[in-house]
Amino acid sequence: MKRDFQVLGGRAPRVDAGDKVTGQALYAADLKRPGMLFGALAHSPVAHARIVGVNADRARSLPGVKAVLLGADVPQVRFGVSPARYDETVLALDRVRYAGDEVAAVAAVDPDTALAAAGLVEVEYEELPAVLDASAALLPGAPQIHDMYPGNICAEVHQEFGDVAQARAQAEVVRRDVFTSKMQSGAFLEPQCALAEFDHAGRLTLWSATQTPHYVQRTLAMVLGLPEHRVRVVMPRVGGGFGPKASASSMEIATCLLARATGKPVKTLFSREQVFLHGRGRHQFRHEMETGIRRDGTLVFLEHRAILDGGAFASFGIATVYYAGSLLAGPYRLPNMKYDGWRVVTNKPACGAQRGHGAVHARALFEQQLDLLAEEIGMDPFELRLKNVMQAGDVTCNELNMSSLGMRECLEAVRSDCGWDEKRRQGRRPGRGIGMACGFFVSGAGYPIYRSRTPHCTVRVRLDENGGGVQVLSGAAEIGQGSDTMLATITAEALGIPLDHVTVRSGDTDLALDLGAYSSRTTLMTGSAAKEAAESVLRQIQEALARATGEPAGDFSFVRGLLHLRGLPHCVEAIRAEFQKERRGYSGLPAEGPLTFREASRFAFLERGLITGAGQYRPPPLGGGFKGAAVGTSPAYGCSAQVAEVEVDLETGQVKVLRITGAHDCGQAVNRTQVEGQMHGSMSMGLGEALTEQVLFDARGRILNPNFSDYKIPTALDAPELRALIVDSHEPNGPFGAKEVGEGGIMPTIPAVLNAIRDATGAVIDELPATPERVLAAIRKLGRHGPAR
């Protein structure tokens, strides 16, 4: 469905770009409050230990130190992400569970003093045997990390859809493969930072680099024992999140407790090392998949076992282990799927949600298997996918409803853009490879993290009483993905006015409810609420004009900020005359032509009083009745296909990615430049995860590379040409037909790169990242055993 839009689907600059290129944009670390103190945390140096004694005397006596909090000084209220798995406390009381666990919090007059004092807190540890990988954690007799997780199993999933045993008998070609990965970091550029202040009425404000102000507000209220309305959480500009900033942290809570203890504002800023210690990035996965097809390429079944090493706490882990299974049910017709997943705790930093959440590495193995199966039956990888792709209206075996799905269009777009058929026809050249893969992702989680029938967001659109201005008040979390620009665009489109009439205020729990920036939810959900609110404002203006003129309300609309009417504009002159009379001495007032939005909205205010529109969004009931059906459900799904072209040095195993071509179905694009930007960012993050990114540990569970020199994300020299093709579809459940682009674009990148490496070398890479050592080992293995293909 093609529609003519006024501002939607264009390439307007981001609404925050001007502030960001001038240095005017303020991030948490840039904020100052009068009398502000500085916070610091002391971390456990050991992975697993009992705390035998703590002595803070030296820290407290350091000049400039205003407060030292130990485990015994803070509420021992458990918190976390999923209420069924609250397993964290602000500061450890008697036990530390990873090298980095927080044991003390300090406030002092300057950052250096705070840091020095944190170093002076003396903790006596009695070390316990540590469990540093998932398989060791699962062994009988393994040290137990939490009493609440017997056998160190934090969550497990067992699902079967269709009949896998019967389907296996019908499959003609079957492959079984194992694939493993390493823990990865979100590696956002802005380290977490929080600034807490209590006002004299005892109300708390926390400015924090978070991507979920609402969940942080709830956690603070719960741990500090305050009603929610006494806690305000505000996001300043936030320098990227990608998932790890999507939950409340000990640092945020400790900062509030330090502010309460000292009666002063307190700011705590993570070092880059602390960003790694706090973790919450990608889990470490072990996937085992058996996939069967018929000789004509029809996909028959998937049997999948996954073990997730999640580190010391649950964080998002329950959702992660469900996502790892449920999101393989599309975008191909897969009638039979069995999934067993275990999410295990170990004595390492906790893992959480990171772009694409649990689905990324599962997708990486499954899409490699599809390539290997295609090769076994002599079918082109594109043809195998095209044979099985779902289309709009299809429902997966686990009851995910593809209300729109341009999967086929994405495949066709990348195939033609990258010249796949010609390049494949040229045949294989050693060291040069081309590979492809697909993926899909939710457009907003169907349910909140806590059990509730709450709307997922509310939005108010408020008309400036003076006329002309429109303010969008939202709790949405702008973390760089462009949600403020999305909200401005949708509001402007719904009202028929230029973008510059709209101001967005967001990321503040005082303004509105919003679950935050995760699960690629904001465009569909908060966008829908903004549209509803703006439409209500438009109706109120229309009604005011209708009453004054006697014309039907539906005859009034705005096109690019000018009143457009059917019939004759009787009222224009009187309204304009009144508007001008109110503004003696002003210049640049509209004098002729159609009535402007500024004049009409002022008139509407004079007629009706304050005009605001309210909008909210709550997904319809979604998903099946089976256990875990809620995870993976969404009002809509975005999908993408990508092709990677690589060069592999067969002597060293070094991989150079030359180009990635991606197509993504985001429904109706709200802003094409921003959609491309999200796709580029996904591809780049996927590239880093595919080739270089891994958090490394020593034998005692301490991170070896908590810095950007040894944890390698792509630089401008590593990133190849990224081509982003937008496939427009119309999502019936999204505002103006829009749906997600934030995370779905990462799904195909890793398998496309790995499939290209195999095309170049013949070698199957079964462990991420594909470092030169691993690629070379895989190539050498071929020499001994012959090509895997």
């Binding site: 880059r272 760089g480 401008a716 020299l717």
Partner: protein, 161 residues
Amino acid sequence: MKRLIRLRVNGEPVETAVPANRTLLELLRDDLGLTGAKEGCGEGDCGACTVLLDGLPVSSCLVLALQAEGREVLTVEGLAQDGQLDLLQQAFVEEGGVQCGFCTPGMLLAAKSLLDAKPNPSEAEIRAAISGNLCRCTGYQKIVESVRRAADLRRAARRGP
């Protein structure tokens, strides 16, 4: 013990007393209130704190304030003139070179140093010039396009209308 230093920041003379271990980044952010330069790692890896010292990009977290004595520092706050964005800033805004914005100030200054020396750089030269500035949001694609666009705008401006 503090020492008095004199330098120029964004064209204005600055005279201030700093302890020997104060970094240029701390001087700019904490003493002068110029928070445009960001600290992403504090170890010289990420480039978010890039400023120009006598026209050349430095990681200001690794430069001591004392080393800036008698020199000219340009930060992102000094790019726009008379309330007008300069052409690099304009290009980043229009081409989508900005997402979260945390790398942007450093990126702009690294790019400015390149364009001042090489008005018509190749893509490889652009990528090399910003290779010390990490960005997690954009995959660099639109940043490279922004720098190229800025180079075009600058050359067009030089030729005149």
